[in-house]
Structures are given as C-alpha cells and as structure tokens.
Symmetry: C2
Subunit: 285 residues, 2 copies
C-alpha cells in the first residue's frame, strides 16, 4: 500500500514541483494533484510530470486529500490554510515548506480544527533550493542528501509527525524535529543571514567593478539572484531572529576590522585558520 | 620567433604552474625554467608539464632570462626581486602576480637598476585562482576569459608594458592598465572584501549549525578554504584600502539592519531588487 492515497500540492514551483517529481519516483502516492494560480504553470507541471492532475480550483483539489502540502510563497501559507480548512477531510495532514516557522505555526495552530486535532498540521522546511525559482528549475532529486526541519509543539500529533518524518526520509532527506522558535534561530544564521549578505554585497560593490569579478565575488553573490519578494517576506516574518543575528554580525565585523587596522595579524590569521578548518570539514564527503 | 627566449617562473604553485602550462600551450617561450624551494614541487611541476627545467637555485635560474615572473606568496615578492636584481640581464622584464600592488610596486621601484630602467618592472595581478593552492590544482586554461590588471607608474617602460599586455592577452585574459593605488582600491572591494567576509561568516555561524547548511551557506563560505597565511599577508599589505571598505561595509550593514527592525520593507525589497538586477547581469554570457 502506498503511503498516501491523494496528495495535493498547492503551489507547483521549484519546491512544489520537485516534491511532485520526488513523490512520484519514490512511489509514495496513488495520485498527486497540483494547484496553481495560472493555467500556464499547470501545463508545465504536467509536462514535467510533477503532478498527475492539476486544477486552478483549490477547494476542489483538496477534497479527500490525505496530505496537503502548501508550497506557495511563505507569506501566503497561513491565509491558504485558513481558507482550505473547512473543506479538508478529518484526519488529513497539512504540511508546508516555508522558510520561517514561528509565526506560521503559531497562526495555524490557532485555527479551531487544527487545535482540536481534527486535522493535523506539521510545519516543514526542506533546506534545499536554488537561486532559481519556478517549475522549470524543479528536479526530482532536489531533496536527496538534503536536510529537512519539522516542527513540534504541544499541539502536534505524534503519529502525523512520525508519518511526515518518514515521508521526507523516503525522499532522501535527513530530518530534524525541533520547536518553531529554535528553527527560526538556526535558519537566521545558516540561511537568512547568507542571503541578506549576498544581496548587500551585490549592492555595496560599485557596479563598474563587476567586470573584474573572479570566482570569489561571483560565489559570494550567487544567491542575490533569488526572489527579492520572497526574501523581503522572510525578513518580515523572522524579524526578531534576523535582527539579533545582524547585530552580532555587525559587532563582530567591527572587531575583525580592528584586527586589521591595529595590525593584530596574529589574531587575524587565527580567525582565518579557524574558518578554514571549519569550512574544509564540509568538503570531506 | 617566439615572444620570449627564456622565461623564469619563481614559485610554481597554482598561479605559477598554470602560467607555465599556459605559456607552453600558447607557445610563447623557447624555454620555461621553474624555481621552487622544494625538490618535491619541482618534480610535480615537471610531471604536470608546467616547466621545461627546474632548479632550487634561484640565481642560476634567472641567468639570461628575458622574462622573470615572480609567482611566490605575495609577502615575499619584494624581497625576491631585491635578491635577484644584481644578476638579471639588462633589458629583462620582471613581472609579478601579487594580489596587492601599492607597496610592492613602490618598494621595487626604489631599487636602483629598476629606477634607472636597466631592468623593467611591470606589476601584474591576474584575477584568477581558486580556494585551492599548489601545483596540483594548476591548469593551463586558468587565465582564459579572466581579467588581468597591470600597473603603470612614471617609472614604467612603455614597451615593456605593451609586451606584458600582449603576453596576457595571448593567454586569454582581458587586460586593464591602472595605477597601483587604483588597483588596490578596486580589489579591496571585488576580491579582498569577499574573502574576508567568507572567513568571517564561517567563524560567526555556530559550528553545530553547519550540518544544516544548504548551497547558499556553502557558496558564501567556499573561499574560506583559501590559505590563511596568504590572506593575512594581503590584509597587512593593503590595510588602508581594506579598512576603508570595511568601514563602509559596517555602516551599510547597520543601515540595512534598520530597514528590517524598523519594518521598512519597501526599502529592503528595493535593495534586494537592485542586487538581483546587478547579479543577474553577470549570468548573461
């Protein structure tokens, strides 16, 4: 028996589309329904074999679903879950792929049918993606050897959590379960900060110097090609943690600057050596 | 007739070794002599066909050379040029590949035989490389479609400059001639800052979060695997420009932080959009 009878993916872009492909090739669902806002994307999703069927009608799409995956831009997740909840069948699991978890999980757990556990919500965040977006960049192996966060709160149903955990593992991801708050604090460092810095560096360096750029600058700024709207929304939804990290960041940049302008080169090379040791450890596999 | 009769490369690492290979395949020299400090590197350089002959004896290696390329760590360039200068033949061109030009050109142009233009010095800096180092990472096409800076001062001999310009173009690089000061100010932005930021970010992010890293963090920190000693030396040799850039950087990080913690999301998304437009323009080719 397959893991799910009917999976509905709302939003078939890079992540939603890749999920559809991955679910198909891991054979986890009898049927995958895709929901998009534009006919064009729907046709693309079918052509990429990311979904079995597609519709623009979200309410029809979620009828009788066992699993609903909300893979829309992060800012729309709560509103979509609120809208679909009256028509979702009892016992269905809803999950999402939003890069922020605190506000999303908090708002969704205020919805009565979720609070009463007629329907289960498990917050999710696969640490996979690209500076590209859209179904055309989707690929079925996007989650292989990736990391996926799942959230747990006092409202979380343990069986639903275990099932979503198994689901992500079958797609090749390593899963970690944590509180929404802990999630937001970790990703502020490991994902939100790097994106903000890439945008910042791209604007800071005079544009007339771009022609001289070698691999170092191009690597450091690659993710500045990511969606500005998505990252504005992430900043507005994880403000407290991002602000905390940026404060620490600014202070330590001043500190590092003092090593250079005070000629404390021993300190500076100790910092560089520590950085290299850490970064080299990522290349071991 | 080939461009040079005898080319001597002092320091056969990533850049020196790649230069040897590139000179060979572009057929620019009758003979390429390599100088290293260790027999082991010399053998490797010969095996990689980066040089025709090699020696540990720098004074023998430079005898009768038409072109001497100093491709050692940046901190040793001036000292090496001072040591070899008495034995270099009149009319020979010396060039280097150091990432800093101000102090290097200034010190070398104090040497009497350079000042009197018995021997010509042209400062160089190919914007190519990698976080890896050593002859094993060298490759003959490293400079293809790269950028190379050459310096010009009142002491610079125009024919020597024109020849070195032609030399780099034949290796596939686009060449720009500028003052050592202008060079140091440009690379502080486009190369030195990115490296310092990559080291800094690698140390700032708690090491226990590394396991969650996706492509964004790995890209932003790739060059933190670069040689700590090299980058300490670069910081100590381009202190003024790097300090100036870091000051601007720190101030603009505070500014960006204020967009987030004061909820000025329109400003934030304008910045992100500008960054994306700029960065996307690098992907056009």
């Amino acid at each position: 028996m397959k893991m799910f009878k009917k999976v509905t993916i709302i939003g078939v872009g890079l992540i939603g589309g890749s999920l559809g492909m991955a679910i198909r090739s891991a054979n986890l669902a009898e049927e995958i329904i895709g929901v998009t806002r534009h006919k064009y994307t729907l046709n693309l999703a079918k052509r990429h074999k990311a979904i079995n069927r597609g519709t623009l009608n979200i309410k029809r799409a979620i009828q009788d679903a066992d699993l609903v995956i909300v893979a829309t831009p992060v800012f729309r997740i709560v509103e979509i879950v609120r809208n679909i909840i009256p028509r979702i069948k009892r016992g269905c699991i809803i999950t999402d792929v939003g890069s922020v978890k605190g506000v999303i999980v908090k708002e969704i757990e205020k919805i009565p049918r979720i609070r009463k556990r007629e329907i289960y919500f498990v917050g999710g965040h696969p640490m996979a993606g690209s500076e590209k977006s859209g179904i055309s960049s989707a690929r079925g192996n996007l989650f292989k050897d990736s990391f996926c966060f799942l959230t747990e709160t006092p409202i979380t149903n343990q069986q639903a959590l275990a099932k979503i955990k198994r689901f992500w593992r079958k797609l090749g991801a390593e899963v970690e379960v944590l509180s929404p708050q802990k999630h937001d604090s970790i990703v502020a460092y490991i994902s939100h900060l790097p994106h903000i810095l890439a945008y910042h560096l791209s604007v800071l360096v005079p544009f007339e110097y771009y022609k001289y750029a070698a691999g170092s600058f191009l690597d450091m700024t690659r993710i500045a090609s990511s969606s500005p709207e998505l990252w504005r929304d992430i900043c507005s939804m994880n403000t407290r943690e991002i602000d905390r990290v940026l404060k620490t960041y600014g202070a330590s940049i001043s500190y590092l600057r003092s090593f250079i302008n005070q000629g404390r080169y021993k300190k500076l090379s100790d910092l560089f050596k520590k950085a290299k040791r850490r970064r080299d450890s990522c290349n071991k596999d």
